[in-house]
Structure formats: structure tokens, C-alpha cells
């Protein structure tokens, strides 16, 4: 089995920053694995601005922000990038198996940084009862369909949850000529950033229902309508407060969950890592509000991995 000094799983904002900082701290053998066909992760579909304000002191789009890291990585020969490479197995000894088209490889990492990001909470996780037609998307999937694939997921949209991606997508749908009927948030305040509530909802006069939930989804083939109901302090439906909204599309924007299945499969708890030389950073470690903060903290992971490797001599 080939041994590598530092292996990083995931090349989104966390993995890329960790790779650069590890190199800058002296690591000279870095393998960066990315399962998608390009570096940057989810940044590529975030074509709105708001990235880089603290990290670069510039207002950038997601792809622009990613590009600054990608350029740096490409200029460093000691960082080997492998795209379309999917890590399938990990052991406590930091042995990692990944597959890519045409190849299965096992490597042993002296130091390993997991920067595997997060996934979105689904309709199933927040238990919205009703039919199961087409037209229900996670906000991130809708974002990918519009911004990467050039497709319009729906024309009359209800957004469940006020996570930042949902708020950004509310504006995106309006700009694409669709109607956004409402954003429904079960909590008393927005989950997303205040600036997104103002710039994405208020500026476009999109109705924002706090302390409300979608009680039921209707539609045999395609979404037809939703029932909305106000909730009390205990998040229980208030009788008689319900109303319906006709729509053909529902976006779920109810937060993110760290993707740590690989660690878990190796019997390692992401929140409590006691294996020397193993680090977790970015949304895989905790859910951040801003990509800038992800990059900032991931620099630390790269630095610590470098220090760990120095310690090995």
C-alpha cells in the first residue's frame, strides 16, 4: 500500500484551504481527493455574491471565490489533485480506499483531513406528511438545476425553512421569472443571515411566515398545493390557523447535516476524534454560516496536520 504524507478528502472551501495551508506549513506530499469532476464543491453552484467579504475583503461569487483557491492549488506541484475520486472505505489506521472511473486505489495516510462537507435535511427528515409527487427539491438541488444545468425546476414555489440556500433560491426563482408564494419557517426567527432575509425576501416582497409549518403536501403526479398552519411555542399546530397555497414546487431549506458517514463506518465519532493525525474540518466538522469562516478554520486543520507530520520526523 502506497503511503502519502497528507491526504485530504473533499475539495470544497474546506479541503482546498487545508491543502494550501498544509503546503505553506511545509508539507510536500499532499493528495487532494474530490468526488466531483471539478474542484470547488458546492461553491460552483453558488453564483450569488457575498463570498470573500472577510477572507479576501472583496465581494465575490461562489465560483470566483473558489477560483482564487483553485489557481493557488494548480500552481503548487506538491498538491496532487484527483477528481471523480470517491472515498469508499476508511480504517482507524488511516487507510483509505477510493474509486474513480477505471481504478480502485488503497492508500495509507500519515495524516488525513476529512473535509467531506454536508448534506441538506430532506422532506423526509422533517416529516412533512402528504403525497409524494415530483416537484419537491432540496434547495441545493434546485440551485444546481438552475445554475449548473440551466433548467427551471418550477414556476410556483413554496419554500420550507429559511436556511440561507432557501433564501438565496427565493430570489433566484424570482429572477428566473417564477413566482415564490411564500417562505415558511417553523421557528420564531429566520435560520438564515439577516442580510439574506432583506436582500432575498424583503426586497422582492416575498411573504415570510415565521412560526408556521407546512402541514401537508398534495399532488398525485406533481405538487399541486400545500397546507400551511401556524404553530405555538411548542411547535404544535394552532387549530383553525391553517390555509392553503397552490404551488407546483416545494423547496426544502431546513438546514444542513455534516457528512461523516465514512468516519462513522470506521467507528470514529466526528465530534470526538482521538486518532493521531486525523483531522476534520469545514461543514463536516460543524455547520458554518459562511464559506469564509470555513476556509479560515480549515487553514488551521492544514497547519495542524503539518505540525503533526513534523512531529513524526
Amino acid at each position: 500500500m502506497i503511503e502519502r504524507d497528507l491526504v485530504i478528502v473533499g475539495a470544497g472551501p474546506a479541503g482546498m484551504a487545508a491543502a494550501i495551508s498544509a503546503y505553506e506549513s511545509g508539507v510536500r506530499d499532499i493528495l487532494l481527493l474530490e468526488r466531483d469532476q471539478y474542484l470547488g464543491g458546492i461553491l460552483n453552484q453558488c453564483i450569488h455574491t457575498g463570498f470573500g467579504l472577510s477572507y479576501f475583503k472583496k465581494n465575490l461569487t461562489g465560483p470566483e471565490y473558489a477560483h482564487r483557491f483553485i489557481e493557488k492549488i494548480q500552481a503548487i506541484d506538491n498538491i496532487e489533485v484527483r477528481l471523480k475520486s470517491f472515498a469508499v472505505k476508511l480504517t482507524k489506521e488511516k487507510e483509505l480506499t477510493f474509486i474513480k472511473p477505471g481504478e480502485l486505489k488503497e492508500i495509507k495516510a500519515k495524516a488525513l483531513i476529512m473535509a467531506t462537507g454536508a448534506r441538506e435535511r430532506t422532506r423526509e427528515m422533517i416529516h412533512i406528511p402528504g403525497d409524494r409527487p415530483s416537484g419537491i427539491f432540496s434547495a441545493g438541488l434546485a440551485q444546481k438545476l438552475i445554475n449548473i444545468e440551466g433548467l427551471l425546476p418550477g414556476e410556483e414555489v413554496v419554500i420550507v425553512g429559511s436556511g440561507d440556500i432557501g433564501l438565496i433560491m427565493a430570489r433566484r426563482f424570482i429572477l428566473e421569472g417564477a413566482k415564490v408564494k411564500a417562505v415558511i419557517e417553523i421557528q420564531k426567527q429566520s435560520r438564515g443571515l439577516a442580510r439574506n432575509v432583506v436582500q432575498c425576501l424583503e426586497d422582492f416582497k416575498i411573504p415570510f411566515y415565521l412560526s408556521h409549518k407546512v402541514a401537508r403536501i398534495y399532488g398525485k403526479k406533481r405538487v399541486e398545493k400545500v397546507d400551511v398552519v401556524e404553530v405555538d411555542e411548542d411547535l404544535k399546530a394552532i387549530q383553525g390557523s391553517d390555509f392553503s397555497l397552490e404551488c407546483d414546487t416545494i423547496l426544502i431549506s431546513a438546514g444542513l447535516i455534516s457528512e461523516n458517514e465514512l468516519l462513522e463506518s470506521a467507528g470514529i465519532k466526528a465530534g470526538n476524534i482521538s486518532i493521531p493525525g486525523l483531522f476534520v474540518c469545514g461543514n463536516a466538522y460543524k455547520i458554518y454560516d459562511l464559506a469564509d469562516s470555513v476556509s479560515r478554520d480549515a487553514l488551521l486543520a492544514g497547519k495542524q496536520a503539518a505540525e503533526y507530520l513534523k512531529g513524526l520526523g
Binding site: 472511473p101 477505471g102 416529516h127 402528504g130 432540496s138 438541488l141 444545468e149 414556476e155 406533481r222 414546487t249
Partner: protein, 496 residues
């Protein structure tokens, strides 16, 4: 209406669920012309898609019932079919549990009834056995009836395997072909569909929830299908070892109760509820359903957490209610049996209706029974010498060791191109599913598991749409979840 088939077909089967598919495959052994009509875009999109996948051992069937006999026979046949058609049948065994001395008495009754029927190897197990073999079971369970012959199989992959094999043996499948009317032409039938008219000597009604309506077309209307909804909740694959067996409570009057189910693919499942509904297309889930199922499952395995639920669905059991005189009863009592009979009122027409649990298990035996009826009623069954009995086992990376995956990737690079990250499904598997007949996103899901994991398709939907679009030469905007009207997107972005 133009005649699609001017020639007379020997046997026409209505419905491509597990029953219709089993009959089609069984009949394809013989020198016959056979057609299967399915109203949906793909087979298994009706009742079969929401089956639990349990292969029942034969317990919990009323003494002397048809379904009891067919269940027992099916349990044996399905093992052979799984081998022939490259399916994964897992004999996991089942435990029907008792919490009180009274319940033990009821278990003993179930045991002796099942033994009379011929269910083998049943035994009572005690608390110590349960603690050793089923550690997550509620410690308040004091005994259980153990039926080692129970197993699990993927219900839709069973249907697809049967259809693929039947197709290979000459059966013709017509999807999106809803039957509008049937004319008895004495002899034979004219079957009118939106896609044209079919003529057949024999018609087999395996139309599931719509079997009553199809039967009424030939004047046989002494039964109604009363859908009984079951809501089921799927848990994360991480919980694969939650239980080692299928766990059953004592059965109620209308159902086997809320179970903790092992599945062929690893994800445990809890459910189903049992609710009478009117609408034959009602596949909705409800808050009450979740609550009920969850409470029921927690009673069996207290450590189940609501956070483990990654998906849910509901399905309808096509329970039959027989009319008494001219009146249809509101509902026949529990234990209503299958209706499998030759209709003398419309000679050549066979009803296979009311196939609720244990229908999946019984399906291969039902197929044999139907063949027997056909032969008895004058259809010559002459064996084909060139019948292809076997189907190549489709590859699923999720259930083979990595060493095998490595070999596969060397042979075909696309096995290393992972599309669905949660369930580890490669582009090659998706392409294979499409060449085997998948035409919709659900069709891909049922065949490959792509989109059925914890992210629920958030990451792989776009890639799957593109593969389906390329392979079937369909525009992305026409890709559907499960047939026309369920398109994934509304259109292309307008570019100014």
C-alpha cells in the same frame, strides 16, 4: 379504434405487478403467444412497489385458506426463482413476540395452526434465547414464536427480474396501456385500450387495485377491491443490524400488525399501518400514521429513534370484499382470501384478485395455479425446448466486497464512476438499469437504489437525469419521476 393486434393472442395478462409478472414468466415456458398490459410507465409501479419484501413462512393464515396454501408453496418456489433470476433472497427468519402469558397461549395457537398447514421448523423461544439472538428486542418480551423459513427479497427487483425473463422468453409487454373496456366475443375477448385493440383467447385479470373494475367489464362484479393503506418508514442503512430477524407482534384482526422489518438492501423498515381508504391512488402519509407506526415499532425495539428515518411511503393492499347477494358488505372480516377463479360467466376469463399479504410470497404459486386452471380449461401447454430459465444477476456494488468492485472497475471503467454517493451506485449500474427497461427516475431508483439513501437524491438527481436523457434520447425536460405528468423540471431556463 384501430386494431393493434389483429391476430388472436393466446393469453393476455392485465397488470405487470408481481402477480401478472409471475404468471407471464410461468406461462412463457410454453409455446404460447402472451401479452402483458400495464397502465403505468413501468412494471411494479402499482401495489408491488410498496410491498415490504417479506417472504412469509406461512404462519398467520386462516386454517383452510387458499392464501395459506399458496403462501407455503410460494415460500419454497421463491428460493428457486431467486437463484434462477439472480435475486438476493435472504432467509432471516421471523419472531412473533409475546409480552404476557395470554399472548404465549395465542402464539401456541398460531403455531399449531401453521403446523397443520405444514409450516416447518417452528419453535417457541424463551427470554434467554431472545437476549442472545435479538439483543435490541424489548426486554419485556417473554417469549416468541420463531419461524426460521421467513425471508426478505426486494419486491420491485423481483418483478423486474420476472418481467425481463418473460420478455426474453417471448412475452410482449405494453406499458402505459390502460384497459378501457373488454368485449366478450365468445370465444375470446377484445380488449380495448388507449393504444389500440387486443384480441385474446384467455384474459387474466391481475390488475391489483383495479381488479374489480376490470372484472366488471366482463360482467363479473361480485367483489370489490377495498384498498387498505399501509404506511412504512425506512431507517438509515447505518441501522442495518438493529434486529437480526423480522419482528412481528401478535396479529390483529385486519393485519399482521406493525413490524420491524429487515430488507434485502439492508435498511430496516418499520410499519405498516392498516387504514381503510376510498381512493385507489392515495399514497399519502400522515402524522398520525407516523405516530402509530413509530409507537408500534418502539414497543418491539425501544431503541428506534425518529432521527433514523430517512424515507417513508405508503402503499395500498388490494383487499377484496365479496358481495353477499346484491349487497356489497362494508368490508369482509379479516382473513378475506385471494380470489383466483375461472369465470364461467365469461369463459376464458380468470380473476386473480384480492392478492394482499402474503401475495408477494404466494405469487409464484399463484402463477402455477393459474397455469393449471388454463390447462384444465382447454389451453394446450406444450413446453418450449428453448425456454431460458436463467437471468444474469445484475451487479450492485452496494452488496459486493470491494475486491470484486476492483475487478469490475478493471473490466469496465464506469463501475468506478460513482453517481449515488449514499448508496454507492455507479454510472454503469444506472446504464444497465436503463437498458433493462428503466424509463423514469423511480424506475432507476427501484432497480439500483440510486436516490433512495439519506440525501434522497439531492446530490445525484441531475446526473441521473442526464444519463437517462442520453440513453433514452429524451430531452431533460421530459424526464419524469414516474410517468407523464410527473416531470422533474418545468422547463429550461429562459435565457435573455
Amino acid at each position: 379504434m384501430k386494431s393493434l393486434k389483429s391476430t388472436m393472442i393466446d393469453v393476455l395478462i392485465i397488470g405487470a405487478g408481481v402477480v401478472g409478472a409471475s404468471i407471464a414468466r410461468e406461462l412463457s415456458r410454453y409455446k404460447l403467444s402472451i401479452a402483458v398490459l400495464e397502465k403505468e410507465e413501468e412494471p411494479a409501479f402499482g401495489v408491488s412497489k410498496s410491498n415490504s419484501g417479506i417472504i412469509h413462512p406461512g404462519t398467520q393464515n386462516p386454517a383452510g385458506s387458499l392464501k395459506g396454501r399458496l403462501c407455503l408453496e410460494g415460500n419454497t418456489l421463491i428460493r428457486r426463482i431467486s437463484g434462477e433470476l439472480g435475486l438476493d433472497f435472504k432467509e432471516v427468519g421471523e419472531l412473533i413476540v409475546a409480552f404476557t402469558e395470554d399472548e404465549i397461549q395465542r402464539l401456541l395457537t398460531i403455531k399449531s395452526e401453521a403446523e397443520t398447514l405444514g409450516v416447518p421448523e417452528l419453535k417457541m423461544v424463551d427470554k434467554a434465547w431472545l437476549r442472545a439472538n435479538e439483543p435490541n428486542l424489548n426486554p419485556e418480551v417473554i417469549a416468541a414464536l420463531y419461524a426460521p423459513g421467513a425471508g426478505v427479497i426486494s419486491p420491485y427487483r423481483l418483478v423486474y427480474a420476472l418481467c425481463e425473463n418473460a420478455l426474453k422468453n417471448g412475452v410482449k409487454f405494453y406499458t402505459q396501456t390502460r384497459v378501457e373496456n373488454i368485449i366478450f366475443t365468445n370465444p375470446g375477448f377484445e380488449i380495448q385500450t388507449l393504444k389500440g385493440v387486443f384480441k385474446a383467447r384467455y384474459v387474466i385479470n391481475a390488475a391489483g387495485l383495479y381488479a374489480d373494475e376490470i372484472s366488471a367489464m366482463v360482467g363479473v362484479n361480485d367483489f370489490r377491491i377495498r384498498p387498505r393503506k399501509g404506511q412504512e418508514f425506512i431507517l438509515d442503512k447505518k441501522k442495518e443490524n438493529l434486529t437480526n430477524h423480522l419482528i412481528f407482534p401478535l396479529p390483529s384482526k385486519v393485519s399482521k400488525g406493525i413490524l420491524v422489518i429487515k430488507t434485502a438492501d439492508g435498511n430496516p423498515m418499520i410499519g405498516p399501518s392498516a387504514e381503510e381508504v376510498e381512493d385507489k391512488e392515495d399514497s399519502s402519509t400522515t402524522e398520525e400514521g407516523l405516530k402509530k407506526v413509530f409507537e408500534g415499532a418502539k414497543k418491539l425495539v425501544p431503541s428506534i429513534s425518529q432521527d433514523d428515518i430517512i424515507a417513508y411511503f405508503s402503499g395500498l393492499r388490494p383487499a377484496a370484499a365479496l358481495a353477499i347477494g346484491s349487497q356489497t358488505t362494508a368490508l369482509w372480516p379479516a382473513g378475506d382470501d385471494f380470489i383466483i377463479r375461472y369465470e364461467d360467466k365469461a369463459p376464458g376469463f380468470i380473476n386473480v384478485a384480492g392478492i394482499q399479504s402474503p401475495g408477494l410470497t404466494a405469487a409464484p404459486a399463484i402463477a402455477k395455479m393459474v397455469c393449471g386452471i388454463l390447462e384444465e380449461k382447454g389451453l394446450g401447454l406444450e413446453k418450449k425446448e428453448d425456454f431460458i430459465c436463467e437471468r444474469e444477476k445484475p451487479i450492485h456494488l452496494f452488496n459486493i466486497p470491494l475486491s470484486e468492485t476492483e475487478e469490475l472497475i478493471k473490466k469496465n471503467a464506469s463501475y468506478g464512476d460513482i453517481v449515488c454517493r449514499c448508496e454507492m451506485v455507479s454510472a454503469k449500474e444506472v446504464e444497465d438499469a436503463i437498458s433493462a427497461g428503466a424509463r423514469t427516475m423511480d424506475g432507476i431508483k427501484f432497480r439500483t437504489r440510486a436516490q433512495s439513501g439519506r440525501c434522497h437524491g439531492s446530490f445525484c438527481t441531475t446526473r441521473l437525469m442526464k444519463i437517462l436523457s442520453e440513453e433514452t434520447k429524451t430531452p431533460l425536460t421530459a424526464i419524469t419521476k414516474r410517468g407523464k405528468g410527473s416531470e422533474i423540471v418545468k422547463g429550461e431556463r429562459t435565457i435573455d
